[in-house]
């Protein structure tokens, strides 16, 4: 297997995992917060937030990538700000790829968590309140454990999306081997030249293997959660 992929391809595999895991991890907390806001909040602009969250799904990925380039690029308003004050640079870094993947997967993550939040029995939260838990604690010790299935599903979707995301990534941070060349962009490059099919197929297989593993892990986690509820 080691021989089967070139060093540069190994790099893409490694990078893809790093990008996907980072994207998934980084979008988790914001995802939960936004899901809570959308499902429970009654505030001005809720509808707008809902639309914004869904945009990465509705727009062609290339357009999303383009907007990312405009805003989070070195010269973009947000990108410049982040760079200046926090030293965070997205443009043409793997962090940018992670950002692109996180944003593309965000609507999926949020939806999954929202569904679980909707299914939570509010009476249990009330009960926790009478037992002395304030809203934050209620969330942490009741709501959060109860929505774990949704969180796991959201993480799977986010991770899988990140493993396959290509349009926004290549538009935003290009396709630089070792820095921003993820599995999907590497696959894409192969499809663009004569004789690239073999390479594309090889990397596709790698992609599938990784996602099988990811699914397996997620099912295992979900089973554990479910067992805790029922057994």
């Amino acid at each position: 297997m080691i021989d089967w992929l070139s060093p540069q391809e190994w790099m893409a595999v490694h990078l893809s995992l790093k990008v996907a895991l980072t994207a998934m991890a980084a979008s988790l907390v914001p995802g939960i917060v936004v899901a809570l806001l959308l499902e429970r909040g009654r505030f001005w602009g809720r509808q707008a937030l809902d639309v914004i969250v869904h945009l990465p799904l509705v727009l062609p990925p290339v357009v999303v990538g383009y907007f990312l380039l405009l805003w989070f690029g070195k010269r973009g308003p947000i990108g410049a700000l982040l760079n200046e004050y926090f030293g965070i640079v997205f443009s043409f870094r793997w962090t940018g790829a992670a950002l692109a993947c996180a944003i593309m997967g965000f609507p999926l993550l949020v939806r999954a968590i929202r569904l679980s939040i909707e299914a939570v029995d509010r009476k249990l939260e009330d009960a926790a309140g009478t037992l002395g838990a304030n809203r934050v604690w209620v969330f942490l010790v009741v709501t959060l454990p109860l929505i774990l299935p949704g969180i796991i599903a959201g993480m799977v979707l986010s991770f899988a999306k990140a493993m396959g995301e290509f349009g926004a990534t290549i538009t935003f941070v290009s396709n630089i081997p070792g820095e921003t060349q993820t599995l999907p962009t590497a696959i894409y490059t192969f499809t663009q030249v004569p004789g690239g099919e073999g390479g594309a197929l090889r990397l596709t297989v790698v992609s599938i293997v990784i996602s099988v593993a990811a699914l397996w892990v997620s099912e295992w986690m979900a089973r554990r959660v479910r067992r805790r509820f029922l057994a």
Binding site: T130, G132, A133, N134, V141, L146, F229
Partner: protein, 368 residues
């Protein structure tokens, strides 16, 4: 404790308009299904926000819609046993029980975990998941969870509804102790007059969202017409007595009432201990002469103080037995046959056996 509640709340076509002032340490809410008992519990516990009104517990204003006060539920320190359990499905029994502990400051943790677990007989369930519990087991865990929060007020919505009698009679003394020693006032919803008669110090009767009667337990229980919904079986009088002595040989305890002595099954109380006894109207037989050769051990002399309105075939006869008010329910036919009328001297005959464990409860000690 004092509970002052004067609220108005609409849900759908149901309107609750309740005004309750209770000084009792255990206030029982009684009323038909759908009368609004749970709604009141929810209002006190902070689960609903009444459209209008005030709730004051022990001088602490929990709700006052006029001045915009609404203490959130987690700050009320009110333990609630819900009608439907509401155990946390993701926590095991032990974690459910200890849930409230996490939010109780260490020095306020008084309730004894293992004592409560033993009392409720749930020791073997501690590592189980709520989904695997039987109906009664869930209910017991829910009771334990509320008790273990060391609440300043305990709300119990039919906590014992589906427990067997044996379990109930183990739990009753604990609730009595809480009521008297633990200084934890309790609001209890129950459909069982026996239960209420044993435990309550005050009773509130609800009907269709409105309070139809309220007051100290003794007074309310004597008013036979207040329980149309229960059937007449449960009316009775509560009298305060104290232990005179024991007849160990026969396993009996003799109590002193104002009119004479009552012999009841042995009680584990020192002579002199105060005791509340419930004499059900249906358990009392009236006799014109002092009876002889009867197996019934208790005969209290007294006189008829008044005769109530007939209700079907039966009539409630109020007795004055040396100052204690008793009620006897007899047939109209008996009234005629015996010529019962106000002022007539009679003897109330009561079997010792009639005092089952539920009828003899600790007298609530004087309020401090």
């Amino acid at each position: 404790m004092t509970l002052d509640l004067d609220i108005c709340h609409r849900q759908g076509s149901f309107t609750l308009e309740a005004r309750i002032h209770s000084e009792g340490r255990l206030t029982a809410l009684f009323g038909q299904s759908g009368a609004g008992k749970t709604t009141i519990i929810n209002a006190i516990g902070g689960l609903i926000r009444p459209s209008q009104g005030r709730i004051v517990v022990n001088g602490r204003v929990l709700v006052d819609t006029q001045s915009g006060i609404f203490v959130p539920k987690h700050k009320r320190h009110i333990g609630t046993v819900f009608q439907e359990g509401r155990l946390f499905p993701h926590l095991n029994v032990r974690q459910n029980l200890l849930f409230g502990r996490w939010f109780t400051p260490r020095r306020e943790r008084v309730a004894d975990f293992s004592a409560i677990v033993d009392l409720l007989g749930i020791g073997h369930l501690l590592d189980r998941n709520p989904a695997t519990l039987s109906g009664g087991e869930k209910q017991r865990v829910a009771i334990g969870r509320a008790l273990l929060t060391d609440p300043q007020l305990l709300l119990m919505d039919e906590p014992l509804a589906s427990l067997d009698e044996a379990r109930k009679s183990e739990i009753y003394p604990y609730i009595e102790r809480l009521r008297d020693e633990g200084n934890v006032p309790i609001v209890l919803v129950s459909h069982s007059v026996t239960e209420i008669a044993r435990l309550a110090t005050s009773i509130v009767i609800l009907s269709d969202g409105r309070v139809t009667a309220a007051g100290p337990a003794e007074d309310i229980l004597r008013q036979t017409n207040l329980f149309p919904q229960t059937g007449p079986a449960e009316t009775g009088a509560l009298i305060e007595t104290h232990v005179l002595h024991h007849e160990e040989a026969f396993g009996l305890t003799v109590l002193q009432t104002r009119a004479g002595t009552l012999t009841v099954p042995l009680l584990d109380l020192a002579p002199g201990a105060p005791l509340r006894v419930r004499l059900r109207a249906r358990d009392i037989i009236l006799s014109l002469q002092p009876p002889e050769g009867l197996s019934a051990l208790n005969v209290l002399p007294g006189k008829v103080s008044s005769i109530g309105e007939p209700d079907g075939s039966s009539v409630d006869v109020m007795l004055d037995c040396g100052g204690d008010s008793l009620v006897a329910r007899v047939t109209r036919k008996s009234v005629e046959r015996l010529g019962l009328r106000a002022g007539l001297p009679v003897h109330a005959i009561i079997k010792s056996i009639a005092f089952d464990r539920e009828a003899v409860g600790r007298a609530p000690t004087e309020e401090t």
